[in-house]
C-alpha cells in the first residue's frame, strides 16, 4: 500500500524512498543531551559572586599548599628589631613586609599562609573523618532499620543536644591540644550531622524501584549500599561537606583562640588572633587580618555550597544553567 501511495505522490522514479519503514525500535541519535561540565563552568562564569568566591578559595588553597615555597619569610623567624611594623613597610635591612610584622617581628603574611595550611587542613580533615564515620553509620541505619537504627539515631539525638564547643574544650583539656587531637574531637562532635543526613537520604532512596530491582537481581546488602545508595547521595552530601569545612575552620579558630588548639609557636588563624589581642590598640593588623581571612574563607565556602545546591537541584537547576538571554527577540 505504501508503494502504491508513493507512486501516486512521487511519479519521478529517480526519487528513492528513505529506508526507514517498518524498522522496529528505529534509532535516533538525538536524545536528551547531557549536562556537561562545560555548562556548569559557563554558569559559574556568569554568576559573578560565586566566581569571585571560587577564585578566592583557589588562591587560599594555593597559598596554603605552597606556603613552604611561596611565603616570603620563615613564619617563626623572630626579628625583635622590627616589631609592630605596619603593612606595606620596609625594614632597614631592605626587607619588604606586605602585611607588616607582629609583636616578635615575624612576617604576618608568611604566618597567615602557614596558618591557612593548618586551619584549612584541619577543616578538611575533620570534615572527611566525621563524614566517613557519619555516612557509614547513617547508610546502614537507614537501610537496615530496626534496632541498629534506633540505637544510632538516639545517639545522634543525644550528641546533638550537647553544647559542642564546651565538650570540645573539656575533652581537649583532658587529652591536650594539638593538630590531631583537634581532628579527633571534631570527628567525634560532627559525625552526627552527616549521619542524620545520610540516613534520611537513604530512607528516600531505599524505596526507589532501582533498589528493588537490585534486590530482585540478588545483590548483597553491602553491594546495594555501596553501589546503589551511596553514589546517589553525593551531591547533597558535597553541599553539607562544604558547609562543615567552614564550620570547622571557625571552630578551630575559636579553640585555638582559647588556647586549646594548635600550640605555639605554630601559626593558625585562631592563634594569631589570640596573640594579637593584647596589641589591638597599637597594631590593628595583628587581629584584623587573620580575622578577615577566617571570615572570607567561611563566606566563600558558604557561597559555593549554596551555588552547588542550586545547580544540583534538578528542579531549579535550569534557571541557573540557562544562559541569560540578550534580548527578548523572536526568532525567524
Amino acid at each position: 500500500m505504501t508503494q502504491k501511495l508513493l507512486a501516486k505522490t512521487e511519479p519521478d522514479p529517480s526519487v528513492v524512498p528513505t529506508q526507514n519503514a517498518n524498522v522496529e525500535g528505529l534509532y535516533d541519535e538525538e536524545r536528551a543531551p547531557k549536562l556537561t561540565w562545560k555548562i556548569y563552568l559557563r554558569a559559574l562564569f556568569s554568576d559573578r559572586v560565586t566566581l569571585i568566591a571560587a577564585l578566592f578559595l583557589i588562591i587560599m588553597a594555593v597559598s596554603a599548599l605552597g606556603a613552604q615555597f611561596l611565603a616570603p619569610f620563615d613564619p617563626n623567624q623572630i626579628d625583635i628589631m622590627n616589631r609592630f611594623m605596619p603593612p606595606l613597610s620596609m625594614t632597614d635591612a631592605g626587607q619588604f613586609h606586605l602585611l607588616g610584622t607582629d609583636q616578635l617581628g615575624r612576617d604576618v603574611l608568611s604566618r597567615l599562609m602557614h596558618g591557612a595550611q593548618v586551619s584549612i587542613s584541619i577543616g578538611f580533615l575533620g570534615a572527611i573523618c566525621s563524614g566517613l564515620l557519619g555516612i557509614t553509620l547513617g547508610i546502614i541505619a537507614g537501610y537496615k532499620r530496626g534496632l541498629f537504627e534506633d540505637i544510632v539515631m538516639r545517639l545522634v539525638d543525644g550528641m546533638q543536644s550537647l553544647p559542642s564547643l564546651l565538650i570540645a574544650l573539656f575533652v581537649l583539656f583532658i587529652i591536650g591540644g594539638g593538630y590531631f587531637n583537634l581532628v579527633l574531637v571534631f570527628t567525634f562532635l560532627q559525625w552526627t550531622v552527616f549521619c542524620r543526613m545520610a540516613r534520611s537520604l537513604t530512607l528516600n532512596l531505599r524505596d526507589s524501584n532501582f533498589i528493588s530491582a537490585a534486590r530482585v537481581l540478588g545483590c548483597t546488602d553491602a553491594r546495594i549500599m555501596l553501589r546503589h545508595i551511596l553514589p546517589n547521595m553525593v551531591a547533597p552530601l558535597m553541599v553539607l561537606f562544604t558547609l562543615e569545612v567552614a564550620i570547622l575552620i571557625l571552630s578551630e579558630a575559636s579553640l585555638s583562640f582559647l588556647g586549646f588548639g594548635v600550640q605555639p609557636p605554630n601559626a593558625s588563624w585562631g592563634r594569631m588572633i589570640a596573640s594579637g589581642r593584647d596589641h589591638i590598640n597599637t597594631a590593628w593588623w595583628l587581629v584584623t587580618l587573620p580575622g578577615l581571612a577566617i571570615f572570607l574563607t567561611a563566606l566563600a565556602l558558604n557561597l559555593l555550597a549554596g551555588w552547588c545546591r542550586a545547580v544540583s537541584d534538578p528542579v531549579h537547576s535550569s534557571r541557573w544553567l540557562t544562559p541569560k538571554r540578550k534580548q527578548n527577540k523572536q526568532e525567524g
Partner: protein
Amino acid sequence: MTEQQQAVASGQREVVLRAEQLGKVFGKTVRQGWRRVDQGVRAVNDVNFELHRGETLGLVGESGCGKSTLARLLVRLMDPTEGRVEVLGQNLLELKREDLRQARRRIQMIFQDPYSSLNPRMTVGEIIGEPWQVFPDIVPPAQREARIGELLQQVGLNKSDADRYPHQFSGGQRQRIGIARALAVEPEVIICDEPVSALDVSVQAQVINLLMDIQRDTGVSYVFIAHDLSVVRQISDRIMVMYLGEIVEGGAVDAVYESPQHPYTTALLSSIPVHDPEQQSRQVLKLPGEVPSPMNPPSGCKFHTRCPYATEICSQEVPAVTGDLAVRGVRCHHASTLNFDPYIEHITGRVASG
C-alpha cells in the same frame, strides 16, 4: 485457540511458578483475650495459580486492588503472611538468605516507572552487567562485553549505548534497558508490573511487541500486571481479575473477554473508551462510587457495595468460587443467572437482541 493455549489447557507444560493460598496482611495480629485478631489491612487474600512455561498470565484490577503487592510477594520483595510461592518446585519462602539469592535468578521483575527503576549513576552497560557481578557463573568475564551488546540488540538498542547513562534515554528506551537487565540472568519467569502504563501510546506497542518476541524466542513466562484491558488482551493467554485483594474471575483471555461472568469484569470491559466514533451508542455498565478502603472492607461479597445486581445474600455471605479461577472460574453468588451480552457488544461484535 492457538497451539500454545491448547497446550496450556491440557496441562502439558511444566509449571514454573505456583502460588498457593498466598496472602498478605499489613500491620499486625493482636491478642484479644485468647483470640488473635487481625488488625491490619488485608492487601492480598487467598491467591492460587499455576504459571506454565512460555505462558502469560494477565492480572487486572483498579489501583488499590493489591496487584502490585502480589507482584512484590511473588519476587519476595515482601514476605507473605500466609501461603507459599514455588518457583520450579522450590518454595521461595523456606529458603535461607544465600539460597534465596540464588533462587532469585529464576524470577525477575520489570517495573512500571522507567525513570526510577534504573540507577542514575550507573552506565547502561553496568546496569545490565550487574547481575553477573552477583552470579559470576552466568557469563564468564571475557564474554561479558559481547553479551551486553547482544542483550542491547535483543531489546532494540545499539551496542554503543552501553556507555551512556539512563537519563540520556527516553521512557520507552529506559524500559528496554530494564527488560535487558531482567533478561541478563536468563530467568524462567518475569513479573511485569505495569510495564507500559507510563509510556506514550506510540511507544507502548513497541514494548508489547518486544515482550512478545522475547517470549517466543526464549520461552520465558510472564505475569503481566496492568490496568489497561486492551494491553492485557494483546499479550495474555490467561487472565485473572482482582478486586480488593481477591481474584474475582479468571480464565482463558478470550473466554473472559467475550463472556464475562462477574459484574466487575463486565464493568471494567464496558467502561473502556472505544476509539471508534461510530460505535458509541452502546450500553455501559457503570459502577457507582469507588473502590472501598481495604482497611475496612465490606462484609460478604467485597464487591456488593458497588454491584448493580447485589441482593441480600451478597452482603451476608462470602461467595464461593464456581469452577477453578485458574482455568475458568468466578466468585459471585449470581454468576449463573446474569447475562452481560448487551454490555460487551463492542468486544464480541454481537448486537444483543431486545
